[in-house]
């Protein structure tokens, strides 16, 4: 019996997403990334006594957008609360967060599961401020940069509905896609705009109570989410099977070793003594305001995926890949709008265009080819002006240089040879050079057809019209 049959993993995720505001949550300091340390600071975000927080209206709007995009209910009133703990990146000695009355509750999202989807519940979405950044330098000191302190975040807490590391990564991928579609977060995991903590526990399969959970922090890529959780699952199962007990604690993932390590330094910090933030009155959101924000939401990935499949006739897989980011979906739709057939457009965008984009966040706006050029290229293939393989060369070159497809074809002389007399000459030459193969073919080894076609393609630099070439080769190889 494998471990998988004996143990079930239960995972709940807490994702922190940085909202795309220009200023911090409670002061007018800029949120720009990469500025000189401690340059975007003021008495409010530096925790000076006597100052008062003033809530950023755009942060509320973005948080609402996120919550509505996740299908949440918005209670008429939410409240900020102080979460008290001491850490050098938190100048006030407390973080302003939301506790008893969060902004939003009871949402959900759908992650891919086989051919269909699986629903993962969202317990709550609340607003809070980010802490500063600690830099661990050499010597007796750590360094503190408060540029990030006070940056608006939403914390999105899932129900413990996730059952594997792969599902956890899918959940974060789906969430990231929804948040970027809703334009509330840039989704950049490397810069920390999207951060994920996982509550992981295991229990004997069939059990209905939860095992003791450990909280895993510091997983800043999809790869690390899977790696960290898988490591943690194995660790807990081994521990229990050896007669030990899982301790409720925070564990830090170390991407160099691939292990999770206990974070003893924070063990005592879990008594946060939350209380309502006296400096901020409750946040009241009227149904009219909520409706207004709901109406401003764009088409979300689920709806778009469904439309690509149902209206454009794309396979589920294509629809999923193309809708992962709004930019890629827009790019694809623009190729279709420029006249390409949806499935051809999908093949080229998922193949060559995606290949032209690197990294986890495809940014089609960085491409040197506008969608219209891809449509032009597809039209040239369909008209027989160029072959599919030449088209691949053209797009690869176009994505480098930005030159239009027709220009590249013209400049390089890549137009297909569809002229029969030119093809006759090439085919005759190949037949003359390979008498042995000709004999075998005529003796019945018809698979050799491809060999002759390939030889002609080689001689013509791939420019022979493949359809016509096939016909000619077949003709010429018939017994004399």
């Amino acid at each position: 019996m494998s471990r998988n049959d004996q143990w079930e993993t239960v995972i709940g995720l807490e994702v922190h997403a940085q909202l795309k505001t220009a200023t911090k949550l409670f002061c007018s300091c800029s949120t720009r990334f990469g500025e000189a340390p401690n340059s975007n600071t003021c008495p409010v975000c530096s925790g000076y006594p006597g100052v008062l927080p003033v809530l950023n209206g755009s942060a509320v709007e973005y948080a609402l957008r996120a919550a509505l995009a996740l299908g949440c209910e918005i209670p008429p009133m939410s409240r900020f609360a102080r979460k008290n703990y001491f850490y050098p990146d938190l100048p006030k000695g407390y973080q302003i967060s939301q506790y008893e009355l969060p902004l939003a509750v009871h949402g959900h999202l759908e992650i891919p599961s086989g051919d269909g989807t699986k629903r993962v519940g969202i317990t709550r979405v609340h607003m809070e401020e980010d802490a500063g950044k600690l830099v661990h330098a050499e010597g007796a000191s750590s360094l503190v940069d408060l540029n990030r302190a006070g940056t608006p975040l939403v914390e999105i807490v899932s129900e413990p509905d996730i059952r594997s590391a792969a599902e956890a990564a899918d959940y974060v991928r789906t969430l990231r896609s929804i948040l970027t579609y809703a334009e509330v977060c840039d989704g950049n995991m490397a810069e920390g705009s999207l951060r994920c903590d996982a509550n992981v526990s295991v229990r004997p399969r069939g059990s209905t109570t939860f095992g003791t959970r450990a909280e895993i922090k510091n997983m800043n890529s999809f790869k690390f989410i899977e790696k960290a959780i898988n490591y943690e699952i194995e660790r807990q199962i081994e521990l229990i099977e050896d007669g030990g007990k899982v301790v409720q604690e925070t564990r830090l993932f170390d991407s160099r070793t691939g292990r999770t390590e206990s974070m003893r330094s924070k063990e005592e910090a879990h008594d946060y003594r939350y209380f309502p933030e006296p400096d901020l009155p409750p946040l009241v959101l009227t149904p009219a305001r909520v409706a207004e924000v709901r109406a401003s939401l764009p088409e979300l990935p689920d709806a778009r995926r469904k439309r690509f499949a149902d209206d454009l006739g794309l396979p589920t897989y294509d629809a999923r890949v193309l809708t992962e980011t709004r930019e890629l979906a827009d790019y694809f739709e623009d190729v279709v709008k420029a006249g390409a057939a949806p499935k051809a457009a999908s093949n080229w965008v998922m193949g060559e265009v995606l290949r032209g984009l690197k990294g986890e966040a495809p940014a089609p706006s960085d491409l040197k080819w506008p969608p219209r050029y891809v449509a032009d290229l597809i039209a040239m293939v369909e008209a027989g002006t160029i072959s599919g393989s030449v088209a691949k060369t053209v797009i690869a070159e176009g994505l480098e240089s930005g030159q239009a497809p027709a220009e590249i074809v013209k400049a390089k002389g890549l137009s297909q040879i569809s002229d029969d007399s030119a093809l006759f000459a090439e085919v005759d030459a190949v037949i003359a050079a390979n008498p042995g193969e000709v004999e075998k073919y005529r003796a019945g080894k018809e698979a050799l057809l491809g060999f002759f076609v390939g030889q002609v393609m080689k001689r013509t630099g791939g420019k022979a019209n493949p359809k016509r070439l096939n016909e000619i080769v077949r003709d010429k190889l018939k017994a004399p």
């Binding site: 300091c29 975007n40 530096s46 360094l143 008594d271 009155p281 409750p282």
Partner: protein, 98 residues
């Protein structure tokens, strides 16, 4: 006694207060008196607390909102200068070991 010595020691630790024996004893007594005083509310009669929403804020207003327009404070340098420890543009704190 509503508040016991261990409560005071726990809260003092969380608040990073270094109390001596005398202070622990005095704080236990005083905090207990304060909490016990809250029992005066019982004199209001048989009021069901579930009927009364807890007051988190005394003003009947919604949280005022601010426009999302960056405004440099112009005080970043002054704040850095006042820090107990500084290296270049960073604040320094005793080494944090993870």
């Amino acid at each position: 006694m509503t508040i016991e010595r261990k409560d005071v020691v726990h809260v003092a630790k969380l608040a990073r207060l270094d109390l001596n024996e005398d202070e622990i004893e005095r704080m236990t007594r005083q905090v207990d008196q304060i909490v016990t005083y809250m029992r005066s509310l019982d004199e209001l009669g048989p009021l069901d607390p579930a009927d009364v929403p807890p007051t988190a804020h005394v003003l009947d207003v919604s949280c005022p909102l601010r426009a999302d327009e960056p405004r440099p404070s112009g005080q970043d340098e002054a704040i850095l200068e006042r820090a107990p420890g500084r290296r270049d543009r960073f604040y320094t704190v005793p080494k944090v070991i993870e």
